[in-house]
């Protein structure tokens, strides 16, 4: 990111929620992660809770850097381990609202076991999975959500593997709330995050995001704006709780809708091991 853009405002309403001294950030132009971070801090502000009641935990990858930009207790952990780290905080301090922001590779590949078990237990966490269909930070390798046929540096002839459809996976594993939006749907995304913060239990929000530098370029999706255009044209609000096939994504097949929406929001007893924190 070049630091030469003219300054058009000296403050931003979310300044207090962001670590301004960490800017400029490391994210590429057209990347959707910054949008997700904004939706998160907007939701935090709307939650009405003190900043000290929030914690943010990330894993590794571009999305894993999210925790580093928000001005709350924030932990940038090891690859795949954001969820168990967050569990430790949430279980020990049940009053805190712990949000995990991480990527598809981090949460669903190396951290996949933690994902299904955290959902199974219904741990009181809000999880924002920024799905950009590849490992962006390391140069665009295929990941567990890369659509079949998409090109990646480790799948030069196209991805053969069947991808995870994360909302379907997490719903089946036992979550209380499951949504999918894109970084185009900033209000819906913010609202879903806020509902997750207000709800007790495992709340999972998939945020589809462009990665123009890697996935977008390799798959002829154009720049970030062009991928946003794909979202605008093809996203449809799902009716009810769609399954795997309906939610499966093919960014190159222009006839297929990309289903978004709030797919699940039910009351399930949140995880809380017996024993009261007395310290």
């Amino acid at each position: 990111m070049s630091g030469s853009a003219p300054i058009i405002a000296s403050t931003h309403p979310n300044d207090g929620l962001l670590r301004a001294d960490r800017f400029p950030h490391i994210l590429c132009p057209g990347c959707g992660i910054g949008t997700v971070i904004h939706c998160y801090v907007d939701a935090m502000a709307a939650s009405g809770l003190a900043l000290s009641d929030h914690a943010c935990v990330s894993g590794i990858g571009c999305s894993g850097r999210a925790a580093g930009y928000v001005n709350v207790d924030s932990y940038h952990t090891t690859h795949g381990r954001a969820l168990p780290f967050a569990l430790g905080i949430a279980v020990y301090k049940p009053g805190m609202r712990v949000t995990v922001i991480s990527g598809d590779g981090d949460l669903a590949a190396i951290g996949g076991n933690h994902l299904i078990h955290a959902a199974r237990r219904n741990v009181d966490l809000t999880v924002i999975c920024i799905n950009n269909f590849n490992y962006g930070m390391t140069g665009g390798q295929a990941g567990p959500t890369s659509p079949r046929g998409s090109v990646a540096s480790t799948a030069p002839e196209g991805v053969h593997d069947r991808p995870f459809v994360l909302p379907d996976l997490v719903r089946a594993a036992g979550a209380s709330m499951v949504s999918r939006w894109t970084v185009l749907h900033v209000r819906q995304l913010r609202d879903a995050i806020l509902r997750g913060m207000q709800k007790r239990g495992f709340c999972f929000i998939e945020a589809l995001s462009p990665c123009p530098t890697n996935f977008g370029r390799a798959n002829d999706l154009g720049d970030g704006m062009a991928e946003m255009e794909v979202y605008r044209e093809r996203c449809e609000l799902a009716d009810g709780t769609p399954g795997y096939d309906a939610l499966d994504i093919d960014l190159t097949d222009h006839t297929r809708p990309i289903l978004v929406g709030d797919f699940l929001d039910i009351e399930r007893t949140p995880y809380q091991p017996v024993g009261e924190h007395t310290a």
Binding site: S52, G68, S74, T77, F85, H117, G275
Partner: protein
Amino acid sequence: MTAQAAGQERVLTGTHFMLGDHACAEGALAAGLDFFGGYPITPSTEIAERLARRLPRVGGKFVQMEDELGSAVAIIGASAAGARSFTATSGPGFSLMMESIGLAAMMEIPIVIVDVQRASPSTGLPTMVGQSDALQARWGSHGDYGVAAYSPASPQECFDLTLLAFDVADRYRIPVLLMMDEVVAHMTERVVIPAADAIQRGQRPRPDHAPGATRHLPYAVGDTLVPPMAHAGEGYCVHMTGLTHDERGYPALNEATHNQLVNRLVDKVRLNAGEIERYEEYALEDAETVVVAFGCTSRSAREAVKRGRAAGRKCGLLRLVSLWPFPEARLRGLLERGRVQRFLVPEVNLGQMRREVERLTQLPVLRLNHAGGAMPTPEDILAVIP
């Protein structure tokens, strides 16, 4: 339940005939354990089972995790929020926890991990003894970092050293490893547990200013090399990362910061070794043969030395209570006296701690090794003492 009643239930003050694994669990409770995240694995499972019953009743949280990867990270997360937290495992699980030992060291979040060693590598002999994770405890995670590791030789020490492990972890903000072995874990002996108010608990260094008053720098250090620790939820808005970071906790991806940080992580332990290390001596005064042993093996070694002495052999025992830091200064002190002519290092591995002794002396270092499944008998050791 009144606070006093809760305290009484937490610390099982009195004299017990207790299993080593259970004594470890009781040591953790007495140390103020708040959070246990673990995955059952032989021969450590009795620790988890006892805590599953005991910990929730005294206000702590017991979580059975999905694997050891998650267990080790969950206790780091809980510790970041202020909990005294630990997990217990054995070789295969210990291997999976290595990445998190590095994370805890790098973030400087205190944790205690118990490894009840069994015969290894891989699945090995799950129910039988080993001492072959000794070097893994020191070097197992990638990179340079500092840890402490203690090796109990009795159920009483399983209690005492678990207590100590929490103190050292908190005081220096390091991972502390309790390197038990199957023999000690599955042995029942007398265990004396002191009164709750007689237990001294080491404290984490904590910020000396209120949140918000001045900016809290999570990794700013003074002379002790240990930065004060603010916990999640206290309002200090800390950032912690496994990346190389500056005193704000922010990523600082350059070699100068890295060199300074990693040296400090190692120096916290190296420069405080005198405080952290533990050893016990027996009949060393005029010893020409010094047996260096730890854990279950040190029990046979003591018996062998007693019998050797009775037979007129000038032998003594240096028992490693801490494997790491290795009691280097003490060993050098013995060498300076000039009486020692040789060392003997019996261990249930193929020579891991012997390397440490060899590193410090030109004298002959005799070996007595077994790959695992059985501990040496006193006769085995006596046969090697000249």
